[in-house]
Symmetry: C2
Subunit: 156 residues, 2 copies
């Protein structure tokens, strides 16, 4: 199963959008994420609908944060992405007639349900400001890396 990298990418973009420039075009963000600008528009489009970012057309346009990092939790972003599946495993049949399979589904659902609750709870607790603060700490620990971000660096 191929993994969904959208949450990870969105966190990455939004923090750069706060820390390193106030707005960026889809082309610039795509270069940073090593992907395609259409993919950026598609994914950030979901975040715009959720009110996390704004976009502007034409000269000087691009993407901009709509709130401060402290006001955006990972849960907000996950929701903005349409709450994609968290797990790579699942039940073979959703509503089986077989009582054995019902018991199996119940056992698996118990575990997945607990894990999902834990994950959503953590997502709700962690804000982009928390992650940005961790970034700041890493910057202090490795000041030589201050100007190197390992990818095409978008500058104001």
């Amino acid at each position: 199963m191929r993994q969904d990298h959208r949450l990870s990418r969105m966190l990455h973009v939004l923090i750069h959008l706060d820390r390193h420039r106030k707005h960026a075009t889809s082309d610039e963000i795509a270069a940073m994420l090593r992907t395609n600008p259409v993919v950026v528009r598609r994914t950030l489009g979901g975040l715009r609908k959720a009110g996390l970012v704004t976009s502007e057309k034409g000269h000087g346009g691009g993407w901009r944060l709509a709130r401060g990092l402290a006001d955006i939790s990972l849960r907000d972003i996950y929701a903005a992405l349409g709450e994609p599946p968290l797990f790579a495993i699942g039940n073979a049949q959703d509503d089986p007639d077989c009582l054995v399979e019902k018991a199996v589904n119940s056992a698996i659902d118990d575990t997945l349900g607990e894990a999902q609750a834990l994950m959503l709870d953590r997502f709700a607790t962690v804000t982009l400001a928390d992650i940005a603060a961790d970034f700041d700490r890493r910057l202090l620990d490795y000041p030589a890396e201050a100007q190197r971000f390992g990818h095409v660096h978008i500058e104001e």
Copy 2:
């Protein structure tokens, strides 16, 4: 993302193998799971390598439990399947140079790590006997379903 149903299917098969017959061929199991016998051999083959089931060729051959249900945890089966990925989400890059992305990965890894620990712990705790006991309870609650399993029912 397409989900991995192997764990669910294996639980289903192994409990039937204890409760409703002592051995079954790949064809019979495939009919029960509504799949292909080669898929059954492939998947049960992993469980055989892990010592959970045995197989015999030729007349009267097929698959058989190697241990009692109480001695097989979901963790054992998950391990026998090669510990496939649990999560449908993940980091965009595994070892990024960008410090922002390192912080992002760390945040996501924290949550996924906790959830994985919870899931593996639960899997280690739950045995097939526990699920079979739940099946027995369901059978008492709905005695009319005693002889109906919702799929091609393999008989001794």
